[in-house]
Symmetry: C2
Subunit: 365 residues, 2 copies
């Protein structure tokens, strides 16, 4: 007996429409992006790390653009048709999780594979936790990466990196876009990073702080965002992780790092709590309105004594480079030892993945 | 010192554009959907469970549609503008994970909350595992839900439900769209379901089986898809779960269920391996070309002896209802005891969430 289901019908309809492949990664690492929109008068491609470029329309209303050969990386992208953001309907499985902006992703693979690519190495596990935050007053989540070989029933204990996302991201930003788990899997397999847990939180201290319409913002709310995020991290997440997992609970075995808003939160938490974390990494940080009042009584000599690493990095094409240079100058004026890095790049995940790769290798040595 | 970052600038730009809110859930549970597209000549809303409806354009090129009061549920939706699928750029954080079709989701909350809504109850943990499948020859993943109170270091052992997604879904379909973890959290908290682990796999046996352009298909490939999926489940996933988690490994403590293609896989695995699972649940199943040859030598009396529950359900407005009626008839002709359910509904997640709610309560009693 032959049965023909809705499934087969639906697949046939898709086949009849013959949608164009998008994105199409070519062997020379150039990429063709395509969007069907016969009615649009102007369509642009916004590719992460570059200026928007106009796409070209063919006779069937298919807009396309082919890049030159690209450096191996994961590129975020979106289309803009007559002023409106468009996701790529041909790439539904690679949509960036985000509270504010819509975008897809495409992997341009390296040869050999880059550290953010899935490779034939032992893989860690991502544990997704859900809880009600009494501090913030919302239901939220966090992820815990346990490295290959981690066993809840074994005696071995591990150090922990707390890794914070940026404004507009959600708790899975560092895994879905930042590929933190792949990066750690690969670095650990190569012996370049120590086996560690990575805890990735939901990085807001105020409900509704980020939304497509601007969110719950303003100077007072910003302060509350930093204060409540810090409290939820220190009073809720860290104790839960240290109770639920086989982790070391010395300051020497705790690191904190973050990008953009999460970089500011990292500094806010790390430099104001010198007895909690030994490693502090701020990637392309921004969002602190005033440095001096953000770190009351900050003493570089004391920080040098307490911290094993203070890292401040930013891309030279990032709009936040000026803030970061000011921050570095301020820290140096306070006699703080730090690794101040300027790398190529804009305010992008390409920069942050490379920051994590470099930063994580220095931890827990 | 005041610093103004790229962040603040970006937020200002967003604010200036004043994008419309979409979707907007009103107090009476009606929902307004909006899409900006001044150039489109016809825009439709496709809302899960209903026929497409035309949207209305205002003077600014904003297309909108307001539903009547909706039953509390999670609704998938997408726009279609002049024949092209559009995701909702105002709802970037609720995009359905899918290999083929693009869509967003909106929650219309119940009062009291429905079982798929996050509630103030203890929450289980989702563990995301990554591995290379020697059977299928690809890198893949699966999720393991552990119930509240589960401890790897405790003596207590739990039964396991293997829960399979449908064609086009990925491994997180049952959590991101099906809300299996919320459903189990809530049913367990109410004492309506036994605490159990739920394992959610990547449900294909052939690489590239599902893609926006139709995928790697055809009758021979379909057979291989079922055979290899079964082998990867039984030879790779089940042994890994039973080694890594505190679970009972008796047949009496293993259940399998799935939706659509996953329903067919459930029957293919369950009815052909009567010594492995005691509970078999097929939700809106479809995709088996021939029932008789799919279950060679199937003997209802033997199945009755071996199975505690054989469940076959389908929505009456589902295109697969005919297949499911034929299947039920065939099983009854073989003298198999079964729960055959017809419920209201189409081929939708509304049906499958309710199937899981009802099915899971009967397990491991």
């Amino acid at each position: 007996m032959t049965t023909v289901g809705l499934l087969v019908l639906a697949i046939s309809v898709v086949a009849l429409q013959k949608p164009p492949i998008s994105p199409e990664v070519h062997p020379d690492r150039s990429v063709t992006f395509r969007l069907v929109d016969p009615g649009a008068t102007k369509v642009e491609l916004g590719l992460e790390g570059a200026d928007s470029v106009p796409m070209t329309r063919d006779g069937n209303g298919v807009w396309s653009y082919t890049t030159g050969p690209l450096a191996p990386d994961i590129y975020g992208y979106s289309f803009n048709a007559d002023g409106q953001t468009r996701l790529d309907p041909q790439n539904p499985s690679m949509v960036k999780p985000n509270l504010v902006w819509s975008g897809n992703m495409v992997l341009v693979p390296g040869d050999p594979a880059e550290p953010w690519e899935r490779q034939n190495v032992p893989h860690g596990i991502l544990h997704h936790h859900f809880y009600h935050s009494g501090v913030v007053g919302d239901d939220r989540d966090y992820f815990v990466y346990t490295p290959p070989g981690y066993k809840a029933t074994a005696r071995k204990k591990y150090p922990v990196l707390y890794l914070l996302h940026g404004y507009s991201d959600i708790a899975n930003g560092w895994t879905e876009v930042g590929k933190a788990n792949e990066i750690l899997d690969n670095l650990i397999a190569q012996g370049r990073a120590k086996p560690m847990l990575v805890v990735m939180t939901f990085g807001y201290g105020v409900p509704g702080y980020a939304s497509p319409n601007g969110g719950n913002r303003g100077p007072d709310v910003e302060k509350k965002n930093y204060d409540n995020y810090r409290e939820s991290l220190l009073k809720e997440v860290v104790p839960a992780v240290e109770s639920d997992y086989r982790v070391k609970t010395d300051k020497a075995d705790r690191a904190i790092a973050g990008l953009s808003m999460g970089g500011a939160e990292t500094l806010y938490v790390g430099l104001n709590n010198l007895d909690t974390f030994s490693y502090v990494g701020a990637f392309s940080s921004g969002g602190l309105r005033d440095i001096e009042t953000s770190f009351p009584g900050f003493d570089g000599a004391k920080a040098n004594e307490k911290l094993k690493l203070l890292w401040v990095s930013c891309g030279t094409e990032d709009g936040l480079i000026r803030f970061n240079r000011t921050l570095v100058k301020w820290l140096k004026a306070k006699n703080a030892n730090l690794q101040a890095l300027e790398t190529p790049g804009r305010h992008t995940w390409m920069v942050w993945r490379r920051n994590l790769i470099a930063f994580s290798q220095q931890l827990f040595r």
